[in-house]
């Protein structure tokens, strides 16, 4: 289960697959993302739980994404996501606009093995108007109470970066519990980790409370600093200078190509 290389771990992420990735704060697998771009992955159906930043922008800019389902793509303090913005205005990707709690709920439906989840809000918004796959019903337990139903999201693969894995394939995710939801919902899950933990994560009740069972995990690769240039919460901060450089370079197609040459294609996975 512990792969010999990052590329080996990523083998299950194939062209055209529905790939789920978490919000930046929960652990973006950036070394893995660069490896996928180097491989030239295509036609991804990218699903952000529930938002994305640099990870989606890089994949979109590199031409890897056909459709993105998300509630937002932004570089946060570093401004709009330039390649996402350019691709949407040029019409080169399809966006399934959602909202954060809708994505959380749709993943929860998948993890429960039920076909849909109801959610408050949305009624009267253009977000709902644009989503022909979402339905409004009258609450069967209420009286004239319309409520939205969201179909379950069951990705082919979930991909994230976490602090620790043990040799049994268990992952330590701490309080970022949406990573567990993602893994439960996805058919397969690939994880990169900072390092291997000696012994079982389940031997220590403190660690066990923040663990995700290896049962759900397809492949693990060790990728030290694997969230760079994003932060890995409680471990290291974001590389602000690099993100500022990205925002500057990715503002134009040529600048983005130069960024890819310098920071993606010229590099090899750790």
């Amino acid at each position: 289960m512990i792969a010999r290389s990052l590329d080996e771990a990523l083998a299950v992420i194939t062209d055209g697959c529905a790939l789920a990735v978490p919000r930046e704060a929960s652990g973006g697998a950036m070394a893995a993302t660069r490896a996928l771009i180097r491989r030239g992955i295509k036609r991804l159906h990218l699903i952000a739980l529930p938002t994305s930043s640099l990870q989606a922008d890089l994949l979109i800019g590199a031409g890897c994404v056909e459709t993105i389902e998300t509630s937002a793509v932004s570089l946060g303090e570093f401004g709009p996501a330039p390649r996402f913005t350019a691709a949407v205005t040029a019409g080169t990707i399809r966006v399934k606009d959602a909202i954060c709690p809708a994505l959380h709920a749709a993943f929860q439906a998948a993890e429960k093995g039920v076909p849909f989840m109801p959610l408050r809000g949305l009624i009267g918004s253009d977000v709902l108007a644009q989503r022909k796959d979402w339905k409004v019903i009258d609450n069967p337990f209420g009286n004239d109470d319309p409520i939205v139903l969201l179909p379950a999201i069951r990705p082919d693969v979930a991909l994230f970066h976490a602090p620790l894995a043990d040799r049994e394939g268990n992952i330590w995710i701490g309080r970022d519990r949406e990573l567990a939801t993602m893994a439960h919902a996805a058919a397969k899950t690939v994880v990169t980790v900072e390092k291997l933990h000696e012994g079982s994560l389940f031997d220590d009740p403190t660690l066990a409370a923040g663990a995700l069972g290896g049962f759900y995990i397809e492949a693990i690769a060790v990728a030290p600093n694997g969230a760079w240039p994003l932060a890995l919460a409680d471990h290291y901060g974001a590389d602000a200078a690099h993100l500022a450089e990205y925002a500057r370079m990715a503002a134009s197609a040529d600048g983005f190509a130069a960024y890819l040459d310098r920071h993606v294609h010229a590099q090899r996975a750790a």
Partner: protein, 254 residues
């Protein structure tokens, strides 16, 4: 050492004025949550907590320290759905006179002229959080429009639609509006120091109610400025390092 001139002691930045006004709007709340890319509302929530000696609870999305959530990203929304979040903040690339907000696109949705990041949690939190404070620094006819191009979340809903929450106010770099849900309309509440009612009218793309006398927004007190520049600034560095450096001149210790 000679003391600083009085006018310098009392000078303040626009962000500090807005944080003070927003802290006042938060009022008596048990739990205030702040979403992504919202440094001024975050400063306001932390200011309210400093003044309230630890209350309200403050949850800053994306923060490890200013959050008690342990059940993943969904906990914030589940908490709000139950009515356990009293105040939240939303913005918009466009905001219209009926309180509709647009976080998605300008022009035709299928082929937009301008694309914004996306709707985040708006079309849910706007419905379930009792006090939603709209926040948009740029006050122009480009941002404050008669009708938004895309409704990320509507300001009001039909009577039979579940709607425990909604907008209470809109604050900009020029003024403060309050929102009257029943009338689906904003009213000018105060104009910030150095700005004028005529200027607000000129730069606002929607119609709003206007009392005969419009007060000037109260400037932050020296004590408020002290709290913002010390305790609040220090807590903001974690998730808004650029903002903390630019506005308060504080930097993360290495």
């Amino acid at each position: 050492m000679p003391s600083a001139p009085r006018e310098l002691l009392h000078s303040f930045r626009g962000e500090e004025l807005l944080a003070d006004v927003i802290a006042g709007l938060i009022g008596d709340a048990r739990h205030v949550a702040v979403g992504a890319s919202s440094p001024v509302p975050a400063a306001a929530a932390l200011l309210a907590r400093e003044r309230g000696r630890g209350r309200p609870y403050v949850s800053l999305l994306g923060s490890r320290r200013q959050s008690f959530f342990t059940d993943g990203g969904r906990e914030l929304f589940d908490c709000a759905g139950q009515g356990r979040i009293d105040a939240f903040f939303l913005s918009g690339g466009q905001i219209d006179g009926e309180g509709n907000i647009n976080l998605v696109a300008i022009g035709d949705y299928a082929k937009p002229k301008v694309r914004f990041p996306g709707s985040f949690g708006s079309a849910y939190l706007y419905y379930v959080v009792p006090k939603v404070i709209l926040f948009r620094l740029e006050h122009s006819r480009r941002t404050l429009v008669e009708k938004v191009d895309f409704i990320s979340a509507p300001g009001t809903s039909a009577d039979h639609v579940y709607r425990a929450g909604g907008p209470v106010a809109l604050i900009t770099s020029r003024c403060l509006f309050t929102f009257e849900r029943r009338r689906r309309r904003f009213a000018l509440a105060s104009v910030h120091p150095g700005h004028a009612v005529a200027e607000v009218v000129e730069h606002t793309g929607f119609r709003f109610d206007q009392p005969p006398e419009v007060p000037v927004t109260a400037a932050p007190s020296p004590e408020t400025l002290r709290i913002l520049r010390t305790a609040v600034a220090a807590q903001l560095i974690e998730i808004y390092p650029k903002f903390a450096a630019e506005v308060f001149g504080v930097r993360q210790s290495v």
